[in-house]
């Protein structure tokens, strides 16, 4: 039972994170490979605030959201000057930089050995101390995030973001401010990633840099591509499938020595296979 809870909790956290990545990469077409870094900043912010008893869980989560909002806007800004392929390189650098910071800023992050013993969450005095309560919390937040994503995608703002991916010049010619729209999208994606990070920190009570490295960013992209970029259903299905993969793989009797690398290999194969044979993902509309 705990096992199932753990799966559902992680999957719903990754749904929130998947929505963030989907918004930025899928909808607006800002190809960021550093979303795990933002996720990490959210996790460390909440972890630090709770471990040091600076504030309660709700304000800490809000703080994480704000910090990630600002940070995501800052790291997305280069995409206004360098476009497409070049931004991937910039974003790659940002991801490496973030991993270096997580690993070496011992005073805050606990360095390579990570941050352990993060207290459990509480909602205005109500402790979230069981798996069931955590699941309810994360599932509610994930639902809220899905609802927000849906509202955005159906609004003129969503249409503007879709248009932006296709042709920035035409968006400007239609009298829209390209810069402003990109900043707003990045801000929203940052909030989602920050909240996901905070939930992750209190659920696992232990975080370390390896969770927020480049592999994690690629894993996120895998979720979005596999589920279906630009769709709400895809951002839900993708994480649920990808989070289940390691468990499914463990059913096959692989030697432990190669299990981890086999998993990475399978993510890679999945990414390539989907790009080739089903670029719209599992849930994407055929285009």
């Amino acid at each position: 039972m705990d096992y199932l809870f753990s799966y559902l909790i992680l999957a719903s956290i990754f749904v929130i994170l998947g929505l963030s990545t989907n918004l930025l990469v899928g909808v607006v077409g800002i190809f960021s490979v550093s979303q795990a870094a933002i996720f990490g900043v959210g996790a460390y912010t909440v972890g630090y605030a709770l471990s040091n008893d600076i504030m309660g869980f709700v304000p800490a989560l809000a703080l994480a959201a704000v910090v990630c909002l600002v940070l995501n806007v800052l790291i997305t800004l280069p995409s206004l000057r360098v476009s497409g392929d070049y931004f991937v390189v910039t974003s790659f650098g940002i991801q490496l930089l973030a991993t270096a910071a997580f690993t070496n800023w011992d005073a805050i992050t606990g360095g390579a050995s990570g941050m352990a013993g993060i207290p459990t969450a509480d909602l205005f005095g109500l402790p979230i101390d069981t798996s069931l309560k955590t699941l309810i919390l994360t599932a509610c937040v994930a639902c809220l995030a899905c609802f927000a994503f849906r509202l955005v995608m159906r609004s003129p703002f969503g249409r503007l973001l879709m248009a932006l991916r296709e042709d920035e010049l035409a968006v400007a010619a239609a009298g829209r401010q390209v810069l402003r729209a990109k900043v707003e999208a990045a801000a929203l994606a940052g909030v989602f990633a920050g909240v996901a990070g905070g939930l992750y920190a209190v659920y696992l009570s232990f975080i370390d840099p390896s969770t927020f490295d480049l592999d994690a960013s690629v894993l996120l992209l895998t979720m979005v591509v596999l589920g279906g970029a630009r769709t709400l259903a895809g951002s839900i299905v993708g994480p649920f499938v990808v989070v289940a993969l390691p468990q499914l793989l463990s059913l096959i009797d692989l030697p432990t020595a190669i299990a981890a690398s086999a998993r990475q290999g399978i993510y890679g194969v999945l990414l390539v296979a989907f790009m080739l044979f089903r670029p719209q993902g599992l849930m994407g509309r055929k285009i």
Binding site: V152, A163, A173, A181
Partner: protein
């Protein structure tokens, strides 16, 4: 309103791209309520003028005035709001959106075009969205694309895509339209449709500056012609007068330097 105020005037515009002088001290002015065709051989600077007027290009020198207000150094968004909007030679439609959404994306003053409004006032946003779609539908009707409203751009014929470009620029509400080759690649019915549409829009009060290569089209739609050569205005006059000038004809057809 002062009657001596020029509608759109362009003063000594110059622009150099590396070794190429795209615009060379180009000066002209136009009146409102007309279709003005911008003609000239390839590389004469027609599209560059569009880019400069609409704020997509920074001029090395020169200025643009619209109804007496300076537009120099202002970004594309503000120029659209001032009342000048453009189309692109290579269409630049949003291929993943429907025809209706393409038009809706250019309708000004929509509520919920930023995240806070969209998230926290969803009902108001939905209402504004409905109004926008109605407006967009009306514009599609105006250009004769009402039955294709829900079609994706890539499923439209080339002629329909050209009409959609005009619909999108109409949606901005701008009073002066800069149309970059609205008839290129069209023939027969499709060409006729665009010409009829442009004349009707003019009669409804939409001034137009049109880049046009087809001399037959120019003769049929233009109230006035601006002849451009090597980034400089060579002549301005009625289509008949411009066409009758042997020197201009030689430049245009003979490729003389």
């Amino acid at each position: 309103m002062a009657s001596d105020q020029t509608y759109l005037s362009v003063k000594s515009m110059s622009k150099r791209f590396g070794g190429l002088q795209a615009l060379n001290d180009c000066t002209f002015s136009i009146d409102s309520g007309k279709i003005i065709c911008l003609v000239g051989p390839n590389g004469a600077g027609k599209t560059t003028i569009f880019n400069a007027i609409t704020g997509f290009l920074k001029l090395d020198q020169g200025s643009v005035f619209f109804r007496g207000n300076g537009l120099t150094g202002i970004g594309p968004q503000k120029i659209v709001r001032a009342g000048i909007a453009r189309t692109f030679q290579n269409l630049r439609l949003f291929g993943d959106l429907t025809a209706l959404e393409n038009v809706a994306s250019a309708v000004p003053n929509q509520f919920g075009e930023e995240p806070l409004g969209a998230l926290f006032r969803p009902i108001h946003t939905a209402r504004s969205q409905r109004k926008t779609r109605e407006t967009a539908r009306g514009i599609l009707e105006e250009v004769g694309l009402a039955d294709q409203a829900e079609a994706f751009v890539r499923n439209l014929s080339y002629g329909e895509q050209k009409l959609l470009c005009i619909a999108r620029v109409l949606a901005t509400g701008a009073e002066l339209l800069l149309l970059d080759e609205p008839t290129s690649g069209l023939s027969g019915d499709a060409l006729e449709k665009v010409m009829v549409l442009l004349r009707r829009l003019r009669d409804e009060g939409r001034s137009q500056l049109v880049v046009e290569h087809n001399t037959r089209v120019v003769q049929q739609i233009a109230d006035e012609v601006l002849f451009l050569h090597q980034g400089h205005l060579m002549a301005q006059g009625t289509p008949e007068a411009i066409m009758a000038d042997p020197k201009l004809a030689e430049i245009y057809f003979g490729g003389a330097l």
